[in-house]
């Protein structure tokens, strides 16, 4: 898509580098809130490790709860980042360029947050390294048949690749920052810019590498959430053991991710006055994709119920009955309404174009998607095969605190990011605007 004519190369630099200037009061205020919430979360975790995982509400038979919910949720968030930065890049979707940077950053931070939760969740977190394949004195290795080990590999790979991808894109921009910066800052930036000097050779290899990374990230992103979904699908728990889980989770992930992108971009754009670069058009496009993913998610829900009914498997049927009218019915209805009904509002142009409605709806979708994971995990475990050991799960303050802490951690990373690195790609916007020409010849 084209930007307004009066944007020149110089203007791009000045506008975007303005973001990195000394932050204002609001920023510090936000930072303070985030840090305090985070510290509560950290305290909760320390307390949990000190007195035993039992201080969390998870119990027999519901041995997985909010922690795993968060893990799945955050991995999901990560996905749309890659979608925008990599997949749309491959499709040469021009409007991606101005928003992909923050989306990709979101990906990296989301993975970092997600990565915490499996460890928090462990009964003996201090032995988490047992899951890492390394030649130990015991001569024993992890069990590669376990979906949890697949997770370890998938998530680490995803993190590393996303990070490389983000960094690749950043290189020229860091150089740009370096060239403006002074003193100590200059030292740091020149260090991390790796001496980028925009020569033809650098550009040539850079853009080809960028293309390949995008090409690799695309199947990766699909695989990662498939693997996450297999944590459930590979088990025999009724309500988990389902073939549609992989596509269903991937769709859900992108659904929530796009919503999160909106939730982040709208304030970003407002605060840093990036209206010229991040335009209504961007948001509208995102909204349109959300409608689509929302419909896929709705379809998956329907399919699940259909299969449960059609399979005539009493265990499956019990689970789905339980979801709709059981102890967790409220969560279920939140999930259905927020994820499938609410996004349909985007069919109305007004809803797509007004930032307020965009923001509200995107937040609702995030909530809905979080509950989706909770419902899937908890309801299935609560009503498994043996009726005698059916049970309930009630979260405790520890879990809530750590949940909040997770969000704080993510927010903190993002806040720091926008002030340290260009949250909008400079060089790639330049690719989109007319380069300066004399025009004679």
């Amino acid at each position: 898509m084209r930007y307004s004519k009066d944007i020149t190369y110089g203007k791009v630099n000045t506008d975007i580098l303005k973001i990195l200037e000394k932050p204002g009061k609001i920023y510090y205020f936000l930072l303070f809130i985030v840090l305090s919430v985070l510290s509560v979360g950290v305290f909760a975790w320390v307390y949990q490790i000190y007195s035993g995982i039992g201080v969390a509400g998870i119990t027999h038979p519901v041995a997985w709860g909010i922690y795993i919910t968060n893990f799945v949720f955050w991995v999901g968030i990560a996905h749309s980042g890659t979608l925008i930065s990599a997949i749309l890049y491959l499709f040469r979707v021009s409007w991606r360029n101005s928003i992909y940077r923050s989306a990709e950053a979101m990906t990296v931070f989301a993975i970092m947050t997600a990565g915490l939760f499996p460890i928090i969740h462990l009964g003996r977190s201090w032995y988490f390294y047992y899951l890492v394949p390394y030649p130990s004195q015991t001569m024993l290795w992890p069990n590669f048949r376990s979906p949890l080990i697949w997770d370890v590999f998938a998530v680490t790979t995803y993190f590393i690749i996303s990070f490389i991808f983000l960094y690749m894109g950043l290189l020229p921009d860091i150089a740009a920052v370096r060239d403006k910066a002074k003193g100590f800052k200059k030292k740091i930036y020149s260090l991390i810019s790796l001496g980028w000097s925009g020569t033809d050779r650098e550009w040539r290899h850079h853009s080809s590498a960028y293309l390949f990374l995008a090409a690799m990230a695309t199947p990766l992103v699909v695989s990662v959430h498939s693997v996450v979904s297999w944590d459930f699908a590979m088990s025999i728990v009724p309500g988990w053991h389902s073939t549609i889980f992989a596509p269903y989770f991937v769709a859900g992930a992108i659904h929530s991710g796009l919503a999160m992108v909106l939730t982040l971009l709208i304030p970003l754009r407002k605060v840093f006055k990036l209206e010229e670069y991040i335009t209504q058009k961007h948001f509208e496009n995102l909204a349109k994709i959300i409608i689509f993913t929302g419909l896929i998610v709705a379809y998956s829900y329907a399919t699940e119920f259909f299969i449960a009914w059609y399979s005539n498997n009493i265990y499956e049927q019990e689970i789905y009955k339980y979801r709709v009218i059981g102890d967790y019915a409220l969560y279920f209805w939140i999930m259905v309404i927020f994820n499938t009904i609410v996004p349909l509002l985007f069919f109305f142009k007004k809803m797509r174009t007004s930032t307020v409605s965009l923001l509200i709806i995107s937040i609702l979708i995030n909530i809905g998607m979080w509950f989706e994971r909770l419902v899937i995990i908890v309801t299935s475990l609560a009503h498994e095969y043996i009726p005698f050991s059916w049970g309930l799960y009630r979260p405790t303050w520890v879990e809530i605190a750590i949940l909040a802490g997770g969000f704080a951690f993510f927010a903190l990373l993002f806040l720091l990011f926008v002030k340290v690195l260009p949250a909008v790609s400079i060089s790639e916007i330049k690719e989109q605007i007319e380069p300066p020409r004399k025009g004679e010849s």
């Binding site: 025999i236 498994e384 009726p387």
Partner: protein, 986 residues
Amino acid sequence: MRFSLSRRNFLKMLGFGSASTALSSCSSEPIDKIIPYLIPPEEAVPGIADWYATLCRECPSGCGLLAKIREGRPIKVEGNPHHPVNRGGLCMRGQASLQSLFNPDRIRTPMIKRESGDFQTISWKDAEKEILDILKTKIDQQKTGEIAVITPLIKGSLERLLKKWMDAFHIKNHLIYEPISYEDIKEANRIVFSKAEIPLYSIEKAEMILSFGADFLETWISPVEYSKAFGNMKRVDIKRQLIYIGQRMSLTAANADEWISLKPGTEKALILGLIHFILKEKLHSDLPFLELELIKGLVKDFSLDRVSSHTGVSQQTIERIGKEFSKANPGLALGGGIAVKGLYATDISVAVNLLNYICGNIGRTVRFGHEIGIGRVNPYRDMLRLIESIEQSRLKVLLLYNVNLMYNLPDSSGFQEAIKRIPHVISISQFMDDTAKEANLIIPSSMSFEEWGDYMPRKGVFGLQQPVIKPLFESRGFGDILLSLVRSIDEKQKGQIPWNNFHDYLKNSWKGIHKDLSPEIGFDHFWEGSLRRGGVFRAETDKEVKLSTKVSLDSKIDLKDKEDEKSSTLLLYPSIKYFDGRGANKPLLQEISDPLSKIAWDTYLEMNPETAVALKVVEGDFVSVESKDGRMELPVHIYEGIRKDVVAVPLGLGHIEYGRYAKQRGVNPINLLSKKTEEISGGVIWSPIFVKIERINKKKSLASTQGGRRQFGRGIAQALFFSIGKGILHLKTEKDIKKEIKEGKKRDMYKPHPYPEHKWGMVIDLNACIGCSACVAACYMENNIGIVGEREVIRGREMEWIRIEKYVENKGNGLDIRFVPMLCQHCENAPCEPVCPVYAAYHNPEGLNAQIYNRCVGTRYCSNNCPYKVRRFNWFSHSWPEPLNWQLNPDVTVREVGVMEKCTFCIQRIREKKEVAKEEGRRLRDGEIIPACAQTCPTEAIVFGDLKDPKSRVSKLWNSQRGYRVLEEINTKPSVVYLKKIKREI
């Protein structure tokens, strides 16, 4: 710190104390001390278990025990297979008995009460002096009549010694007190057969049992013995039936083929109605004309229609039962359960006797001449007399030995006030219980595991109780206390009682037994033999009895007292967990949930759903229960197995004192009882108690271990039905079995793994399983399973590796309650294994589903993926307050927080036996390895063995016609096969 001192002495003698059971997963060098033997005891090899025969004294039935000793500590008790009472089986309470030995709340030293009311530790010398002073003064004043001794049922040498001792001090009053006694049966036998004793019931022999409120699988007279018999009875012929008549479906009733609920207080009418019917139809065995007329006379106005309308039992039912029972050859009618210990207790027992008599069961299933010990107990009436004499201050000194009168006597009896009036209350007790608290002087008495003794549960059964550990604290055996007291009074007594300690006395008195049992062999030989065997046991011959001509009973149709109609009837019953309350201080018994209510750690009021609706209460709501004599508030438990007009409360909780686990927990329903005794036998009137129930504004969540109450057609607890004509329905044929096996093979995606040496498997016969939960207790004791307490049980975090699942069905005979022992199924295609990221769960070459605790990181994925939900997670590290931790099994590690654990088929036992076999260079024998659960099972419902050995018992049962595997359809291929229960179809 006296305690630590005594512990060190103990270690000094028994060494290797520091075989610490704390899980130390740290690799750094632990600085700990090894304490070697000072003088190594003979034959004791550290690391190798020794077994000593002794006795269980948790209830009056007197089962034989084998105590497993490791490094000088008893770490497990098992039933003594030689002992005729329990024949190797053991109940929940027996399994937990070590927790009374190692109970942290035992009285550790003699104590005296100060003016301020709190106790002060004193030395044994002073304590004895105190007692002697009191006794001597009484002797000098010629007022020994003011002294009374109250003991629980003690038989054999101790009893004889006590007699001698009392003579020495000129003491006359000795009361034997047991809260749950059977004077009505005794009395009835006097009336009917002029033989005042409690007979021996041969349940094995019975083809049909009619139980009138006799819970012989739980607490009635000798539960383990009768459970064993019941199991055998079922095994002999699957179609033998038990019919239970009562207002509440007790555990026994739940195991009956039919539960007949009748109006409260109408049992007598029903029995007499049955007799009437049988006589009318001439179904009775041939009787002399006179006797016939006599009995006819007694039952003349109990015609079918009247009885039926009066009891609320349909005529057909009565007829059917009458016909079948008289046909049964022999049958057996049981009475005298607490449920029928009411105003007419004796009459009911008389009626039961008559019923047995006319059907010719006397001398066949009801056998006299065995003098069951419990018959010796003084009735409640005597206690009331005692209290009276206290009130009239004719009694100044009360010497109590291990009786908790404050708890077991109702407030209405007035004892609680009376005891305060007595100047001298000397309590020789093991625990600081409600009664000891009231004493002026407390003498710590040893546990049965620490003292010599013997016990005769019945004639011909001389159980020998040898100590298996030195007294942990400054306690002494009752016998020793008596002896040392006697020794220190004047010379001439010494001549009569020359023994220095009870051991000598015991040995001496056994010389007598030796003389009349087997004089041919030398005494030492006899003595050692008895020690090894756990006693000497001789089959006593029955005594003939004949109907007394003076048989009589109040033969009007008794209508229940004119109580106002809206009051409902309260039924008390001794809990299978706490018995009469003495179990309450053992954390294990608190933790295991009741087989029927599935509730742990609390008292509750059982109420029929419809009654609950009428009262607008739901599970956990509190109600106030008010009788003429007392009032209490307790939560409601909804139970289908109880009549609309009846509510029930289990005994056992509501102690004021009695240690950290029992103190201030639940309520004590005994205080609702009245002072009135039953006229004829003088027993307690347990029921019916008329109470008003009101909903009060308070609720709690009960510590229930149960989720869903029904199976929802999932075939977890399966049953077959038989009808008298057709035999068993839908029994598998050999062809079906073959077909099953073939299809089973087809279902697999990969080819099965080979099992080179062994393939361990288990078969559980649901027809034998009575849900008594002894296996659960045994498992806890064997495997160091943590006790989590009420709060955590409410959150569903109990750690039981094997649980008794209870399901309610409404098929066939109305209410149908089924039990399934659910433990790790050791699946061949175990879903828990592949999901473990670190190989903590894997399949071993012998078919065990192994769990490596210190490899586990606690992802809990395996638990999610276990369809049987038998994996248990350590949400916290558990603690065993000293000295409870001395019981921990050194062959099983104590699991840390954050670790998954589960049934291992008692791998430590397998390992041990395999090692022995290797050392002896032979193959394992079938039945050599027995897991704790199978070993203790009173009905021998659990069979464990090697499926690779075609001759093993388990292989033979494996493809039974009744066999099925839980959740077969998900093809986990469990190594546990259940045999379907068989119920009478009506």
